[in-house]
Symmetry: C2
């Protein structure tokens, strides 16, 4: 038993070290850019020996993966995605999607910007971003299929998917919330109502009522 507890403790410590590295790297990536940040600088910022950083996470790409995992955990993506897929009312499904999108961007618009910069600087990261966006598209397609499938009027699944991917863009959030000063909850309401007006026009979808 003592041996097992020792292993558990060491694992928890290893996880804590990885989280500490990821937090330090996230601040440096956001400030100086992914391409310009070295593992040595991350080690200094995290106050952890360079060799430990290498053995814990190995590369900047793996550190960015860890940052992404932290972000997803913070924004409770999985729980919300499960909720919207099992919700029967299409208008309520779109409200849950807007809530998820708002929560993700509240918690991680810095991470989105890090990915975009990394993808411009390194072909390998461009490929990673392409995969992340493809996974996001598959998730949103599932929702959109549930919302618009087997309807006689309104947009097709492909059309609804294109519109949903567009309205949920980080640049839309950035413009309304960061630049124009909307509160995140006002953005969320606008997004839910605009998606409903666009995807469910037969339900008397109207413009924002705010």
């Amino acid at each position: 038993m003592a041996v097992k507890d020792g292993v558990g403790h060491r694992q928890r410590q290893a996880e804590a070290t990885k989280d500490q590295i990821a937090r330090a790297a996230r601040a440096l990536f956001a400030e100086h850019g992914y391409a310009a940040t070295t593992i040595a600088a991350i080690a200094r910022e995290a106050d952890i020996p360079v060799q430990t950083v290498y053995s814990a996470l190995g590369s900047k790409a793996r550190i960015l993966e860890r940052i992404t995992g932290q972000w997803m955990a913070e924004s409770q993506t999985v729980a919300l995605a499960e909720a919207y897929l099992s919700e029967p009312d299409p208008r309520e499904q779109l409200r849950l999607l807007a809530a998820l999108n708002r929560r993700q961007l509240d918690a991680g618009s810095d991470v989105v910007a890090i990915y975009q910069e990394a993808a411009r600087a390194e072909p390998r990261m461009a490929e990673t971003l392409r995969q992340v966006l493809a996974a996001r598209e598959r998730e949103i397609r599932k929702l959109v299929e549930a919302v618009v499938a087997r309807r006689r009027t309104g947009p097709t699944v492909d059309e609804a998917l294109d519109i949903t991917l567009t309205l949920t863009l980080p640049e839309v959030y950035r413009t309304l919330v960061v630049e124009r000063g909307w509160s995140p909850s006002r953005y969320e309401t606008w997004l839910a109502e605009t998606l409903a007006a666009q995807l469910l026009p037969w339900q008397g979808g109207e413009g924002p009522t705010s």
Copy 2:
């Protein structure tokens, strides 16, 4: 008269040289980035002596200004902006704004990307981009005031401005036209209808009918 004609000829030649430099620079900026492109490389690409490039346009910032001027001339921005400001019907005004936005982005989404990259690389270009966007905001505010002012229902001028700036973002065009494969005219119709549904809800604005 001979002297005057000589002056006219030299002026036309000087303008043609500036256009030639701008065209060469636009291709290089788009391919390698504004920050990474040198005046020497632009001179080589334009097949013009470096010294002539310096005396004609002096700096990369002035070359980018010239590129912007060419872009505005190509997309006939001024004529369309005059048309939408003098149009009495608000729905038609929004249709003209959508047409203008589509034409600008058809003709110059590469120029938008050059500005964004230049602004990330150089603080002076970030300031230039800020001024360009502020001028764009003033233009769109004029239109939005004409469209929504003195109405009892629907969004306020500020709200309508925020929404219009968001829906006309280059990233929205890029997502729908470049990534999702919409034709520019389908984008234009969608933009006009979505703006009408958002800004003129009392007119029975509805989702896209496409």
